[in-house]
Amino acid sequence: MGATLACLLLLTSLAFAQVPSASPVPLIASDDSALSTPAESLLAARPDSSGPQAIDSLVVLDSPNDAGGSLDLYWTLSSDDGIESGAFAGYEVLRSASPDGPFAPMVVLGPGTDRFRDRFATVGNRFYYMIRTRSLGGSASDSRIIGPVASRGQWFDTRRVSVLVGLLVVLLMLLATKRLPVDQEWMLPAVRTLSEILGRTHRGSLVFVPGTGGLGDMGTIASVTLLEEITRMPGSEGETADVVVCTSDPLAHVLVVNALPDQDVRYVSPDRPTFSLAFTGEALRSPPALGVVAGALGAEAFLLSEALRRSGAIAVGGTTDVGETPFLVASCDLTLIGEELLLAGPLLSPGGCRAAALVHDRLKVLAWVLILVGVAAAKLGVTWYLRAFSGGGD
């Protein structure tokens, strides 16, 4: 059922993606035609009858998918634009709060330009626009005045329909995890190795660093989740407590203290080099048997893992930062790369959490199918499919 719903949602996403993203806002165009309303001091040249051909169609639309404060102007090029190269100067965009003016020039655009985005159209205000075509000789012609138009914020970013559908697919698959068989044999190799290492390590000699990033980073969340599972797993002598946790981010520290009140949680420093310095000193003075450095990490990842190595400990690294991964791979005995770190906690836990981790495999299959269809679409020139997954990045 989850898969069926996923397919339905995807199809909906694709259907939405074909709808033009810009939603036109009804405009009120002025009845005045070829009205010349120069601003008193700002306009150097006055419109005259000998000027270049005025544009005959100007459309002003509210910019789509924004918080308001922006209007899009479109016009057809003047018939003089491009005919006599060098004589046509360009288009001057003028704006006023009243149809009677004064119209203030906003920008002068070169020949061949047929659009402009006014990013200073304050929400709640109404504006009137006019395009003045200019020649190099100084003559000018005005378009009709368009307005009043006002910008407003939108309640949904239509470019992000595919992202929303993707999220709903993940959500539905997670909610359907109760129907998934909890396959005890399914396990990421790196997580299985970590489980074996943990089973052979006395907890009192385990040091854990839940990254140096904040709670805004998913790596930190995954790391603290992994830490929780580690404290529940029995160690080499059946014990389940006494993990030394060194934290850098204040919020992560409070989170760990609350989640694991029985553990030795040490706040070291919010400053990453200082944290590395203090951790290195601690690791070299009191070498642990096993050190886990996992979470959101920067350049200090290498320093921390090398400190563990030099202290003689087994070093386990994990990060969601692709840039830091090679350093951890080079310096750690075991590295949880990207998704392995994010899935390590659920995979080490029993029951439903573990089943939830299994969803990841199905999501990857779905992603592969979408990618392969995307490759085919790109080859066949099916652009709407590619646009559907553009995600509406700014």
Binding site: F156, P250, S331, L343
Partner: protein, 208 residues
Amino acid sequence: MIRRLSRPLVIILGSLAIAQFFVPHQASRWVEARLLDWLVLLESAALVAGILALARRHAARISRGEGPERALAAVTLGAMAFMLATGLALGTGPGSAFGAIYLSVLQPIQASMMSLLGFFMASAVFRSFRLTSAPATILLVSALTVLLARVPLGEHLVPRISMFSTWIIRGPNVAATRGLWIGIGLAACATGFRVILGIQGPTGAKRS
């Protein structure tokens, strides 16, 4: 009581954070700004809690510890107290004693620490690039190709090596990175939902 409240709070605030991504309206921006304000407040309170925990731990070390542990704890607490007093008494603006101590003491110490990266890298590379298996051999050959291509001598020794280097960086490297990103993105999405829904997470989530 607080733990009982935390679950609905996580669900509501988590949903708001997700919704904010899809709603460009100014109301959404307003909510986002308020959430960020709360985050700053929470972080400030957490920082105080962290500093208190740090001070308590080092005070305990001084009372119980021996030898270097006690001395190091005393130096840490002394430095904290000194910087706090300097900042409160003389200010923390540009040109202040607080800033001068930071620039002339702490920054050089930090720079020294980070400069170790170069040496650590060299030793890690030496350890990693051993012909112990087929993947290690591929790693070694790829790394040597990229390294050689970056120096003038490389092109002199092996003509057109920069072409192979560029292919490695733009081909297999980019493919692997994108593969990682796809896996991370999907897993991060599922992790976020697991935390918000209380299936699992570091906020006292329910256990199966």
